[in-house]
Amino acid sequence: MSAAAPPSIAVEARRLSKRFGDFVAVDHLDLSIGRGEVMGFIGPNGAGKSTTIRMFCGLLPPSEGQAMVAGFDVASQSQQVREHIGYMSQKFSLYGDLTVAENLRFFGGIYRVPQREMAQRLAYALGMAGLQGRDDALVATLAGGWKQRLALGCAILHRPPVLFLDEPTSGVEPQARRQFWDLIHQLAADGVTILVSTHYMDEAEYCNRIALIDRGRLVAIGTPGELRTRGLGGALLELQCAPLGTALAVLQQAQGVVDAAIFGDKLHVVAGSGGLTANALAALLQAHGVQLASVRTVTPSLEDVFVRLVARGQETRPAT
């Protein structure tokens, strides 16, 4: 890279790739995350989310391409990268045989938090995790939500400008997940850049932007609203009609229809932009003997969008 990343960009990947033997885990990924942004990292299991995050953290060297984190190259300046990031790995990774306070003090020492600020930062982390007064509890005895918040507390003791959270809320109950996301937004409000992977679609809604990755490739990126409106490649129509089977067969072959699927007792049809109008649709179905009761435009959920995008990727690309 010829010049350092501009200050407004906290994380940037350019054609970032990782191969394990013949297996391509991350395939020429381009991604840039602005300062203070909460970027959601969504994708099926094995899509390459963890591998990408590990490359950003300097834990895995890229096979190809580059990544800059907080202005440092992850391959050649991994030590500086580590000074400027906080990381929560997918597996819970604090010391279960140490107490809450001992874990915090250990990471405080490892990150060389200035001694005079230590007490204040430990208190902040304890408060954030909701563990005041439980300093002496062995971490192994804590419930999932507390463990995760404590892990976050340990990861931000040194006030890193960039945070990488790899599925931080997996296996955590909904209430605790909600609290965790409140913390993420507090940190973002303080200017911390956060890349957080998740497979909970409701959590994706909390992100400023979402990057959808599948088979190591960036499939779509944008705000939740943007992805909902243009992620499907057309408007989503909900049809009440009978018989459903005939209607499905007709619509899947029809010009201007991107996708059609049965959705409960209704039919969901993605009409390509400038393609099929509601009237044309009604005419087409009547010609095939289908009774159309109603048609309405619905807002797709993010889940609709992701399922559609991942499916499309698998149709258009030959299996490796």
């Binding site: 394990f20 001992e102 490892i110």
Partner: protein, 378 residues
């Protein structure tokens, strides 16, 4: 390298040792157990060898000879036999491991020719014991000969000086009582250090991989060298304390003579600890399963220490190729130094060769260990 991070590592590791019953047991109880077992249990001295007697003659002389075998505590007569077949039977039954047969014409032969033979039969399944028992037997026979000679001389009015007899007066140095305990116990310290040091450290890195804490740790700015030193420091202290306890037990409990300098002993022990901890750490870095790491640690530390260090089996009795092999068996240097300091009072200068051996090993192993760990996942 930052001291702050190193100390944070060392403190964390200390807490983990303290809270892990297995580590604590290895660190605190194992040395005492080993010291007791090996101090009391292992002895290369053989006393009261069970012996059977088949006295075919049963004369006054033969009975006098038989009574000599019982004297001195080397042998214990466990059976009196009455046939040659009885010898085999007694050995099969395990009544004795040696039998002495005095022929029926023993006294007559001695009187007419001046020499007579007695037969000794040994069960040589345990070669070591047999060799030692044979030695004892020769000693007893030599005494008998001397007695017969003295009687003859007295009867013929000749004094020993007229015959010009050669008399051997053996004198043993450094372990005057020829007590094998004095020879074994200093070596026990090496065994304990090898066992404790490598067993504890072999788990220190693999444990973090297995529990998933390693991924978090290597995402921090801590360097590989800080991880190594921080992890080894507490184990080094444990090793030195264990060694001190064992050495004190050797001197004050088992009464092994201590003739050398404590400082030399300390230096050699520190070097040996470094080698052992470095090996344990190398294993731990290379092998990510705790169980496998602990097994491998046993093979590369305890086995050479017990078998090839000269701790139990004298190196100069080994076949030449094995003797050459012991040069790369690091415990041999430490065992040599321990015995030198304990029994001979050897100084730094006397011990420069084994000390140099240890220094070379310590440098190489620690250098390899420092390079082994990478803060990467692949």
């Amino acid at each position: 390298m930052k001291l702050r991070r190193l100390l944070a590592m060392a403190y964390k590791e200390t807490l983990q040792i303290w809270r892990d019953p297995r580590s604590l047991a290895i660190a605190l109880i194992m040395p005492l157990m080993q010291m007791g077992l090996l101090g009391y249990g292992v002895s290369l001295d053989i006393k009261q060898v069970p012996l059977c007697i088949y006295d075919q003659e049963n004369s006054q002389l033969s009975r006098a000879i038989v009574s000599r075998f019982d004297a001195g505590g080397w042998f214990a007569t466990t059976g009196v036999l009455h046939s040659q077949a009885g010898v085999r039977a007694a050995m099969d039954a395990g009544t004795c491991i040696g039998a002495v047969v005095i022929p029926v014409d023993f006294s007559r032969q001695l009187a007419s020719t001046g020499t007579a033979s007695i037969q000794a039969v040994f069960d040589a399944t345990d070669v070591n014991t047999t060799n030692i028992a044979q030695g004892y037997l020769q000693g007893v026979v030599a005494q008998i000969n001397a007695q017969i000679q003295a009687q003859w001389q007295a009867a013929h009015g000749v004094s020993a000086s007229q015959l010009g007899q050669v008399d051997l007066q053996p004198s043993t140095w450094f372990n005057q009582t020829l007590d094998s305990r004095n020879f074994i116990i200093p070596g026990v310290v090496a065994v304990i250090l090898a066992l404790v040091g490598a067993q504890l450290t072999s788990l220190t890195v693999s444990r973090e991989w297995e529990r998933g804490t390693m991924e978090q740790l290597i995402s921090t700015p801590v360097t590989a060298l800080e991880v190594m030193l921080g992890k080894l420091l507490p184990y080094f202290v444990v090793g030195m304390v264990d060694a001190a306890v064992c050495l004190a037990l050797a001197v004050y409990w088992f009464d092994v003579p201590f003739r050398g300098s404590v400082l030399t002993l300390f230096a050699a022990t520190a070097l040996f600890s470094l080698v052992i901890l470095g090996i344990g750490y190398l294993i731990s870095v290379r092998i990510r399963s705790q169980l496998a790491a602990s097994q491998v640690a046993l093979y590369v530390t305890l086995l050479p220490t017990t078998l090839l260090s000269g701790y139990t089996f004298p190196i100069d009795q080994m076949p030449k190729p094995i003797q050459a092999l012991t040069l790369v068996v690091y415990p041999r240097y430490y065992v040599t130094i321990l015995r030198g300091i304990f029994l001979k009072g050897s100084s730094l200068v006397d011990l420069w060769q084994p000390l140099l051996g240890l220094v070379i090993f310590a440098v190489v192993i620690v250098w390899l260990a420092a390079r082994a760990f990478h803060k990467r996942l692949d």
